[in-house]
């Protein structure tokens, strides 16, 4: 299992939590499964789950198994971009209002900016970097080039991932289904109708092969 480079770690002591403080000293990281304090015992003798200030997540990104230490406040998008240097998914609003960060998690299209990285443990993540096989582009990628499905290209990785999710779900979508399937992605350059053509073209190619 490959260990991705870790930037920093933060440990919040139990005392600090109870005082309502965040933050803490930076420290070197070890590949332990769980850091932080054990939960202790709550009311009625229920054993509390541990409160983690950091979690080591083991997940697959584009088919590769990785282990990364993440803080609860980190989104999957930040981990992909800042830690793994997979900059295909973009941080365009950080609020799930534009779709530029769309990736696939266990086959579903998700806004990675709103997906806590701690939840990526055990998941399979596919980003736009994971679609091509060597030099062979995915039919959706190829169609985006052939039909000029982009202008500035910044929303394109997000649209490509949404398109892949759509076509996996509905291999022969109607024009209405294409519009609806892509309705969670904004294109400010305004190239939507070209994007539909690309998706329709890709769906035809994928069904032929």
């Amino acid at each position: 299992m490959e260990k991705a480079t870790k930037k920093k770690s933060r440990t919040v002591t139990r005392r600090a939590f109870l005082q309502g403080l965040g933050g803490g000293a930076a420290g070197a990281a070890l590949a332990t499964r769980i850091r932080g304090q054990a939960g202790g015992v709550g009311q009625a003798g229920v054993t509390l789950s541990p409160a983690l200030s950091q979690k080591s997540i083991n997940f697959k990104v584009n088919g590769k198994s990785l282990s990364v230490d993440v803080e609860p406040r980190e989104s999957l998008l930040e981990v992909l971009r800042e830690k793994l240097k997979l900059t295909g998914a973009k941080k365009t609003c950080g609020r799930g209002e534009c779709g530029g960060c769309t990736v696939l998690i266990d086959g579903q299209a998700v806004y990675s900016c709103l997906f806590p990285a701690v939840r990526a443990d055990g998941k399979q993540v596919i980003t736009v970097e994971g679609l091509a096989e060597g030099d062979r582009l995915h039919p959706v990628q190829q169609a985006f080039i052939e039909k000029d499905g982009y202008q500035c290209g910044y929303c394109t990785p997000g649209f490509i991932m949404s398109s892949v999710a759509l076509l996996n779900d509905i291999p022969a979508p109607s024009p209405e289904q294409i519009k609806a399937g892509l309705s969670g992605n904004l294109c400010r350059c305004g190239n939507y109708v070209k994007i539909y053509e690309a998706v329709a073209s890709a769906s035809q190619k994928m069904r032929k092969d």
Binding site: G94, D148, Q151, Y154, T156, R188, C189
Partner: protein
Amino acid sequence: MRKDAYPEDTGLDYLEMAKGKEPQGKEAQPPVQTDFKLIGRPTPRIDGHLVVTGRAKYTHDIFFKDMLYAKILRSPHASAEITSIDLSAARSLPGVKAVLPLKEGRVKYEGEQIAAVAAVDENTAEEALRLISVEYKVLPHVVSPEKAMAEGAPRVHDSANVEKLNEYSRGNIDQGFAEAEVTFERTYRTAIEIHHPVETHASIAKWDEDALTVWDSTQAIFSVRDGLARALGIPATKVRVIKMYMGGGFGSKLSFNEHTVAAARLAKEAGRPVKIMLSRKENSLCVGNRPSTRITIKGGAKKDGTLTALSLKNYTCGGVARGNSGSEPLIDIYKCPNVKVEELTVYTNTGGGRATRAPGHVQGTFALEGFMEEFAAELGLDPLEFRRKNYTTSNLGGTGIVYSSKGLDKCYDIGAQKIGWDRRNKRPGDGQGKKRRGLGMGSQIWWGAGVPGTLADIKLHRDGSVEAVSGTQDIGCGTRTYMATIAAETLGLEPQDITVKIGDTTYPWAPISGGSLTAPSVGPAVRDAALKAADHLKDMAAKKLNVPAADIVLAGKKLYDKNHPENAIVFKDLVGQLSRETVFHGERADLPAGFAYNTFGAHFAEVEVDTETGRISVLKHVAVHEVGRILNTLTAESQVVGGITQGISTALFEERVIDESLGKMVNPNLQTYKIATSMDMPEIVPLFVDLADPRINNLGNKGLGEPPRIPSSAAVANAVYNAIGVHLREIPMTPDKVLKALRDKEAGS
């Protein structure tokens, strides 16, 4: 002299560049070739594989070792005086490497920069901002132009809130109205529009001794370089700006930004590279917007529709900056001997306006084209025929010089046929039922000649590889691809054989990528360089093949005798015989004097209005543009599609909402500043009248970036008018406004 100024000093007057310098050239360009093999075909983008695999590097995507992240503290107040600022706690926070105060004294809008920090990561930088304590003396603010114009309003600057912006007149306006058989007056309003490029503004500053390199998401690398040099007090020779890919700009990235200066200063202090990425909220507040307008047009005409007089009064608001002149379309496009224009700018305590895709023309066209539609109804004329009645082949409404090329009449013909113009309600609002349909149109005029003096190089390497190099920008229009296509066409190669290098100030000068300048500036410069390279190779080949140079053809990656094609030499082999790699310098030549160089177009829209919910659905939108020769039909169509989409978006949804009493924007995000989604799209039909201009440059092409944006909102609004019989005269046409217009119409009748 009409002039719109922008808060950042670009070093170049933007509109002067867009309009084109006074033509100096005496001769027409060489006859424009028509039988191109590559130019004018649909060519997929040559760098597509980088974009669709996520490997294209935008400024947000670039990292350096030891790089710091900067954030800026911004004023929460619309109007205030900074009385004290304490940076000490921020400075002591572990992980913070540099802190700078950016502002003293008077703050004039929500979002104005106060201080900047650079830290090891974004969370630390954010925490540092929280530790900066600023004391403000909050002052009275004014955030609406109406209130700013009122007696006793708080002053935004040291001078009056209302200032003269532009004036123009020709003929005798009073006489013109006296001659009219029918006069008509209407007022139209457009809202503030925020660019919201999907990639927020971002810069990385990196010093190497006393030399600065900046990676910037920008449409204007040379403007950024020169502006930074001035702001930092260092020579331009010590600054280099690089832009490989950018995620949109639409005019908000046309000059250097204050935050880039801050990043450079922080990098100097910290001794490490500094990256700054603005948030979506900052993009909403402080990097520009399209100024609003309130335009009153009064027209006089004969009963048969011949215009005798047009006057325009515009109150435009660009926040702390000047607004937009919107009178150019009225001054130019329709034949009218008597015209008077008065434009005033109104200041408010809000973020300053910036150039936004066709500044002024979008607003002015909304007003003018709405006016033409309504005046036509008043006159009992078909609105298209009313426009045709006042068609002219000379600029300034027929009083100036002849257009070098003008295909607007053909745009009308084709567009009207495609939409089915005779399906429209003969009288606006004639339809029945809860859902009413209507058709509307808008005419478009813009400049598009490009900038003489633009430079490009073609470099031939001895291994047969070819570079096309220019310090231009590809902001999504496909610049790289048409540069490659032009070079390949000229040298008998394929676009994939050309390595295109752009986006670096060490490359030959090119203008900003705005104003629809790039294609008619860089295209001809590349063509010029490639022709020089071709001539040189022809001379070399002539000696080898023992044939006059004039008989040599470059095609199919070979050079050969046109009369005996088998007498040939392969391009790669010939170039291998150069003594060294060889550069050919190209320049976009001057424009022949005596002509006006403009682009034209016409949009036709069909809408359905749900009169119970106030919802407008655009069903179909046809656009026909004449921009000279089309270089690449595939990417050109995308430009048109984009301009239509943006026009629909602003016609129906986009509105910056400000709370007047608080002086704050309440929708600085993409959830409540609403941009059109995929489900809001109509059937879009983008078409071209593809006719090469005979003298504008060595390709016959004009700029396309802005034309499709100009009449798109107007066409939709006019279609709504045709559908329901009342023109809202205001955008965005949200359900509440549509329902009110319908109620008012009902009450009136």
